[in-house]
Symmetry: C2
Subunit: 181 residues, 2 copies
């Protein structure tokens, strides 16, 4: 599994059931969301702008893509804010077939631009690690079939000692491919 | 990582937050449980009885252990049944350092004796696969630190095509080791 194959497998529209565990308070969160993953052109404006803020070059890029989500959580008490939408641009820069870097326009734990490391385990599980100012995150994605994947995340304190939150999503793809934007 | 190291890492009492996803109905389940994992002696009565029902011999066994759980789910409406308790004996039979068989006195998807296959991924994630009459299950356990582990499960139809249920648990060890029974 290389990053290009992984992105190709992920393209489409997914229905996600996600559970969050807040460990200090032993609280559960439940979120249903629709997630749209699309490959985008290497020379698109969004990709060019994002890569220009890093030390990497357009030549290093493979299979950039966007993730757009529309989530409904049971945590938000204010009805107006109970839908959370967003769009993130991700630019993979492989080092080898098994690992590399991903530049993200928005991070997972913090809503700022982030640089993540990724690698594939022996069974093709995708592992993404990101360090933020006050936390670090490990995300894992593994496919159970063509149209079903699991996604887990763990948010640790930045020194890696405390575990703050975990989440797990069951994701079913109901629309296969959207094509280039 | 071999199975003996894995069992040694797992010994103790864990507080578990588990979320279940029922995919057909898009329903969430939330369960808090206390899980006690103990190594048991190879020549104990429970181990001898269980192994005698299989094709394996006492000589093949490494690090047998028991899992005892006490769970509280939000699914049960009947208060009397809202606590689910149980005990399972597990007997590992390694084929190599990376993989083997585990005999379980109780299965995960079905409450019958079961034979599972296990293997370790490149990052030491433990993967357990079990086929039952009408379903098959993949469970994964990975340690984030000495006292924190994640556990996921997926229940598929026995032909492997349909995915029925998934679950994810965040587990914190609060008592380290119980010693031999």
């Amino acid at each position: 599994m290389g990053i290009e194959q992984f992105v190709a497998l992920s393209e489409g529209t997914w229905r996600s059931m996600r559970s969050g565990h807040s460990l200090a308070f032993q609280q559960f969160e439940e979120v249903i969301s629709e997630i749209q993953i699309k490959q985008i052109a290497k020379d698109s404006k969004l990709v060019k702008e994002l890569i220009s803020t890093t030390k990497f070059k357009e030549l290093d890029i493979k299979a950039p893509f966007s993730i757009e989500w529309n989530a409904e959580s049971d945590w938000d008490e204010n009805e107006d804010s109970s839908n959370s939408k967003g769009l993130c641009i991700l630019i993979p820069i492989p080092i080898s077939n098994k690992e590399g870097v991903i530049i993200r326009s928005l991070g997972y734990a913090e809503a700022i631009q982030a640089e993540s490391r990724y690698n594939f385990l022996s069974d093709k599980t995708f592992v993404l690690s990101t360090k933020y100012g006050s936390s670090s995150v490990e995300e894992r994605i593994w496919f159970l079939s063509e149209n079903f994947r699991c996604r887990s995340s763990v948010i640790k304190t930045s020194n890696g000692e405390g575990i703050l939150q975990t989440s797990f999503a069951s994701e079913v793809r109901h629309i296969k491919k959207q094509g280039y934007e």
